[in-house]
């Protein structure tokens, strides 16, 4: 462990200190390092395990079918039906916009883009949006849709802001999935006389489906939990009682309409924490958090499961 200054350059010419046969001290250091590194792995599992256990215990007696299926209440335990509905609604609405644009963008980046200024500008934009804080993306949505376009707090404004926020991830995951398709598949298709677009549509995209679906589900998990983007775009009010038989998409009273405020489950947790005063606040938040974590776990397992099944089915045939 002596003479450690400077970086270790070529592997064929190690420092004299390294060429010596390992001494007892360095073997002890190696053992200690191994123990410490194992410790980090164990620590992460312990933290995750205790978080899941914590919420399982906290949600015990709170989460029930009636908790999930009734309206919120200030005076009783209440439920989370409208906010859970809004979370799913926002998820679907966002993915309806983000998936086509993201996949098409991924196709360009993987199949068409050459190393030029436009491509590097797209890459820079991709990195820039990924690093802009979610709250700033939310403020952008606030100024663009809520204020300037006079939409007010609407599900559509929230979904568009969420699309902005998640488009880079969706594009990058699609690009990776498409790039993973072997070059020979493209060559074979082109050699048979198919055009470039026919090759993409009938050869590359079908082969990339498992990866694309994994990308969709990973993005979905992020959309489902996001709150900072939505605070100032789709609103933070207590949702009214929803009449699910009202299918008038242009009527803001309909839970199916994108032109209405939509407080999601994550935003609801934040709202309860900052202004909730009811006696059941802690139980409701614990229950909501447990539901949120369960959904995220489902998305994760779903992404793995579906990806694996599709890969097997598509590659075996």
């Amino acid at each position: 462990m002596t003479a450690t200054s400077g970086s270790f350059g070529r592997p064929m010419a190690p420092k004299p200190s390294l060429r010596r046969k390992s001494s007892r001290g360095s073997i002890l250091a190696d053992r200690a390092a191994t123990v410490v590194l194992w410790g980090t792995g164990v620590l992460v599992l312990l933290i995750l395990g205790s978080i899941i256990l914590h919420f399982a215990l906290a949600a015990w007696g709170v989460v029930s079918p009636s908790f999930i299926l009734s309206d919120p209440s200030e005076t009783t335990l209440g439920g989370i039906l409208p906010v859970l509905w809004n979370s799913i609604y926002m998820l679907v609405l966002t993915m309806l916009i983000a998936v086509p644009v993201g996949v098409l963008g991924g196709i360009y980046m993987s199949e068409y883009a050459s190393e030029n200024a436009v491509t590097s500008a797209i890459r820079f934009a991709e990195e820039a949006i990924s690093s802009v804080p979610s709250i700033v993306v939310g403020l952008f949505g606030l100024i663009l849709f809520v204020d300037d376009a006079h939409w007010g707090f609407t599900a559509l404004a929230g979904a568009l802001a969420l699309t902005f926020f998640n488009l880079p991830l969706m594009t990058r995951l699609s690009e990776q999935a498409l790039r993973a398709v072997p070059q020979e598949e493209r060559s074979a298709s082109l050699a048979l006389g198919a055009t470039k677009w026919q090759t993409i549509r009938h050869v590359v995209v079908p082969l990339a489906i498992p990866g694309l679906i994994t990308g969709v589900i990973l993005t979905a998990g992020r959309v489902f939990g996001e709150a900072a983007v939505l605070l100032f775009t789709s609103g933070i009010g207590t949702p009214p009682h929803y009449n699910f038989t009202n299918f008038d998409l242009l009527n803001p009273a309909s839970p199916w309409s994108p032109f209405r405020p939509a407080t999601t489950l994550s935003v609801y947790i934040y709202k309860l924490n900052s202004e909730g005063l009811g006696a059941f606040k802690n139980q409701i938040v614990d229950g909501s958090a447990a539901v949120l974590i369960s959904m995220v776990l489902l998305f994760n397992l779903g992404a793995r499961g579906i990806g694996r099944i599709l890969t097997r089915r598509l590659t075996a045939s």
């Binding site: 462990m1 592997p11 390294l18 390092a33 792995g41 934009a125 700033v136 403020l139 050699a191 709150a227």
Partner: protein, 326 residues
């Protein structure tokens, strides 16, 4: 990417395409989808910058004034818009979070890339993905219900370090309520752990296997190999990881707002409540009216956040360029 494959050459030999093929509609459509991200970024920067300068343009606050340590947007006799407490708090909370998280995350990345047998990887890696998926409001709520009471109960009295002869050498007020700089940093350190871990892990995996076997064949221990060969070789990747973690920590809003105590004061002790840029925006945006100076100051804060994040993107690019050049 312009590889000259046999197929590419063959397509070049094909007969001249017809008009529809020459316009190449699909190419244009996918190009538009990719370019939309440039439009989004340009619009976002323009709008936030425009709103962010209103404090100076419309409200007549000088640029120097925002570096004052006093935040008092409601004072009748001349409100003060010093943003320094928020900027300093963002820097301090992020710095402590990284101090806690970096050793842990890099250790974890080393564990996954060098030490862990396959079964351990198969357990730890999915766990990390679940970590990423846990929403920030849930981290904040965990902070409030578990971490904050723990800090308040355990370290309520003043924290004093004394030496036998010299007497007390260091003292700090204890956690009053538990809502504090420390709580914010601890919550953030867990939230950025997966980011730093996964980027460092990729950096370690990118080091060629031959270097490892070469080093081990020369009789070094695994730890010597990690310390003298792997860490220096992957240094720029690890730096990138830390910068990405920093960006995420500085931009995180809700979890921090929930545990930090929301007090716009200059950071002095790690036990005191603070307010970061993000938490103040989250807290105040709903209470202010569009166009009033108070809200304009919040837009200026978001412009500061935007500048921080764009700077970090450029920083990551510089780090990686150096790696490619060397």
């Amino acid at each position: 990417m312009a590889q000259m494959t046999t197929a590419n050459r063959l397509t070049g030999l094909r007969a001249r395409p017809g008009l529809l093929e020459r316009i190449d509609v699909p190419r244009r459509v996918v190009f538009l989808a990719a370019v939309s991200m440039i439009a989004i970024v340009a619009l976002l920067m323009a709008f936030i910058a425009w709103q962010g300068i209103q404090l100076f343009v419309k409200d007549g606050v000088s640029v120097g004034e925002i570096f004052s340590p006093t935040w008092n947007p409601l004072a009748n006799a001349g409100p003060e818009f010093g943003l320094l407490p928020f900027i300093a708090a963002t820097v301090c909370v992020t710095a402590v979070a990284l101090l806690i998280s970096t050793p842990l995350s890099v250790g974890l990345a080393l564990f996954l890339s060098e030490v862990a047998p396959n079964w351990a990887k198969a357990v730890v890696q999915p766990s990390l993905e679940i970590f990423v998926g846990i929403p920030s409001v849930v981290w904040g709520w965990l902070g409030i219900t578990v971490l904050v009471p723990f800090l308040a109960d355990t370290f309520s009295g003043p924290i004093v370090i004394s030496l036998p002869i010299a007497g007390p050498v260091f003292s700090m007020p204890g956690f009053l309520t538990g809502f504090s700089w420390m709580a914010g940093s601890l919550v953030l350190s867990i939230m950025v752990l997966p980011t730093i871990t996964s980027v460092s892990y990729d950096a370690f995996r990118a080091v060629p296997q031959e270097l490892r076997t070469g080093s081990l064949a020369l009789g070094t221990t695994r730890w010597q190999m990690i310390r003298h060969l792997l860490l220096p070789s992957a240094l720029s990747g690890v730096l990138t990881a830390v910068v990405l973690g920093m960006t995420r920590a500085a931009g995180e809003a809700l979890a921090v707002q929930m545990v930090i105590g929301n007090s716009p004061t200059m950071p002095a002790a790690i036990t005191q409540p603070l307010t970061t840029l993000t938490s103040q925006i989250t807290l105040d945006m709903g209470n202010t009216v569009f166009g009033e100076p108070w809200q304009d100051a919040l837009w200026t804060m978001s412009l500061v956040l935007l500048i921080i994040s764009i700077t970090s993107v450029v920083l990551v690019r510089l780090i990686n360029k150096r790696r490619l050049a060397s």
